[in-house]
Symmetry: C2
Subunit: 160 residues, 2 copies
DNA sequence: GTACTTTTACTCGGATACCGTCTGTCCGAGTAATTATGG
DNA sequence: CCATAATTACTCGGACAGACGGTATCCGAGTAAAAGTAC
């Protein structure tokens, strides 16, 4: 039970897109190389983000990806759901049914309520952080130099 | 990212042991059959619970398993850790390092704090529920009949 | 110079292979109660 | 009748096979800008 690495990749990919000037797009190849991730798999993740309407893609020459929403409206939870899906962290396999030998229609589980409660609590924290606040958090004097070189790199790789 | 089914099995296994009279033990074979789980795999889970000092095992003829602690002191979280281990739900794979091209020693991740916070919140809910309260929750008039037959079954299968 | 075609460089989406982890099985070893054996 | 040995029925713990999901790769199709071509 561990979060997939794809979620982290997706979050940083979107963070990079947040730094992109409006109307500009960034090719998928550039994104994956900057993340140090496998190009094709990163591509697949980006497509999931497109399907979730978090980013948009422009096809053809001078194509690439860009944000579809303001970064203030994209939460870490949105990205998590886009990559991992919206299934619960816990789903009962109906053991209580066997233990108590209940009639077939009854499907209660003592744990479901508790687990759902815990999950909601977890999700709420993830919903509280947006990409905008995440990037803002990165903008400290300590990373000033690195961010400048990142933005320079973006301006080189972006199109239109 | 989903909780393993083994955790649910382990929780109900311990719940059954909670109903066991003091000094009596229940053979692993009986437990697995009541859970409707594979005998050998269930056995493996029970051993994990033994290693976590939640239950104890008695070897030899008339052997079996029983609780090692009062059910009030066993939380759902304890069982989760015993089965899944105490690793975090999230561990950074160091992408920020690549994105910002940081010097080798620096290992910061923007997400770690947030994820740890969310995880703590999740864990706290799991820690708030004990096996005792879980079983108590089951003791409603609605399940009276089933619980009686379960206790009858326990008294048949237990030894000493 | 305009309209059309070709080229180019991207994304899209499916098929597929790889690999680690969870699930499940098997077997030999250890242990303790019971039973059998010998004096 | 008592002491010792064999049997029995469990747990212990490791090795290993299978299933599944996440990771990663490849390829053909679609698309749009740019370049080339024809008139």
């Amino acid at each position: 039970m561990q979060m997939k690495t794809g979620v982290e990749q997706a979050i940083y990919a979107i963070s990079i897109l947040e730094m992109l000037p409006a109307k500009a797009v960034l090719p998928g190849e550039a994104i994956s190389s900057r993340l140090g991730a496998s190009p094709t798999y990163c591509h697949k993740l980006l497509r999931k983000l497109v399907n979730a309407n978090l980013i948009t893609s422009v096809a053809g020459v001078k194509g690439g990806f860009k944000l579809n929403k303001k970064a203030d409206f994209i939460t870490v939870y949105d990205i998590y759901v886009a990559i991992e899906g919206q299934q619960s962290l816990y789903s009962s396999c109906g053991i209580l049914h066997d233990v108590l030998q209940l009639p077939t229609e009854e499907k209660k589980c003592m744990l479901t309520d508790l687990m759902l409660q815990a999950e909601d609590s977890w999700k709420n924290i993830l919903k509280s952080e947006t990409i905008a606040s995440l990037v803002q958090q990165m903008r400290t004097p300590h990373y000033e130099q690195e961010l400048q070189s990142l933005e320079l790199w973006i301006s080189e790789k972006m199109v239109i």
